[in-house]
């Protein structure tokens, strides 16, 4: 394998998408199979569909797409934009206002009707 190309390192294959655990050879295989955009690669491999939503892998995948399609990085479209999601600290949830106590059936037992 040619040394120094994007996604290739001394220890092949390299983890590209850590969230979905997608390796560089899986991305390369998707490109060989005809993927031409970052979205194509995502649909074939799940790379970019995890918790970080492509923050870590998309720059590398975009470079691999540019290389495979002979375009410049500036022409490679990003993943379809999705609502940004962030992990938050449990503290933030704990600090939310207490919800009002659910209504009871008068017996003081919330679940009696379910039995």
């Amino acid at each position: 394998m040619r040394r120094g190309a994007v996604g290739e390192t001394a220890a092949e294959p390299t983890m590209i998408c850590r969230c979905e655990e997608i390796l560089s050879d899986e991305i390369a295989a998707a490109l060989l199979a005809g993927a031409r955009t970052v979205n194509d690669v995502k649909w074939r491999t799940r790379a970019g569909m995890g918790l970080c939503q492509g923050v870590y892998c998309v720059p590398v995948i975009a470079a691999m797409v540019a290389q495979a399609t002979g375009t410049s990085l500036a022409e490679v479209a990003p993943l379809t934009a999705r609502p940004p999601v962030r992990p938050i600290a449990l503290e933030a949830l704990a600090d939310l206002a207490e919800p009002e106590a659910p209504a009871t059936d008068g017996t003081g037992d919330y679940h009696s009707q379910d039995r």
Binding site: A11, Q53, A74, T80, R82, P83
Partner: protein, 185 residues
């Protein structure tokens, strides 16, 4: 790592190696020191000469012939813009390596082509905290001017207050051509 240290107040080890060039690596090293950690190695080396050691976790780092014991290997390779919200709203994106990749196309008032939408800070392009503050001020004043609550003089003053670094960031966006983006549905 910076989120762990600065936001969650968690230091995931004592001995740190920081891999990467430039300001980001320096900033990370300072954060590690402030958190009471020790930076035992920092720098950059080509992949074959740099190898993480450890099977179920990081035990050390091999640099060429040398081996050092570390608890954490942190990689500092630059920052990215965070244009997700602006993109969902329909703002076109363009590639600007100096601003951390794809950034929303905004004009010199940080106004996007989407009516009423201004974009500033990390959402508009990766950069320093000072740059984000300066852009936030300009976008806020420009938005106020757009609805008649500030004057053109206020906008100019906000732009000048950002100094050369703000002017440079704005200049980087001039003349960028948008990439095709699949719209959010």
């Amino acid at each position: 790592l910076q989120i762990l240290l600065n936001q969650h107040r968690l230091r995931p080890g004592g001995r740190f190696a920081i891999v990467g060039p430039g300001d980001d690596a320096d900033e990370l090293a300072i954060d590690v020191l402030l958190a009471g950690g020790e930076v035992v190695w920092s720098g950059i080396a080509p992949a074959p000469f740099l190898e993480a050691i450890g099977r179920d976790g990081v035990r050390g780092l091999r640099i060429g012939q040398d081996r050092i014991d570390v608890d954490v290997i942190a990689i500092a390779v630059g920052r990215q813009a965070d244009p997700a919200l602006a993109t969902m709203a329909g703002t076109p994106l363009a590639f600007a390596a100096e601003l951390g990749g794809l950034v929303p196309l905004v004009d010199e008032r940080l106004q996007s082509p989407v009516p009423g939408l201004f974009v500033a800070g990390d959402a508009a392009g990766a950069g320093t905290v000072a740059a984000a503050i300066a852009e936030g001020r300009l976008a806020g004043v420009a938005a106020a001017a757009a609805v008649g609550l500030a004057t053109e003089e206020d906008v100019t003053a906000a732009r000048l207050a950002g100094g050369e670094s703000l002017a440079r960031r704005i200049g980087l966006r001039a003349g960028l051509s948008p990439v095709a983006v699949q719209p959010y549905e």
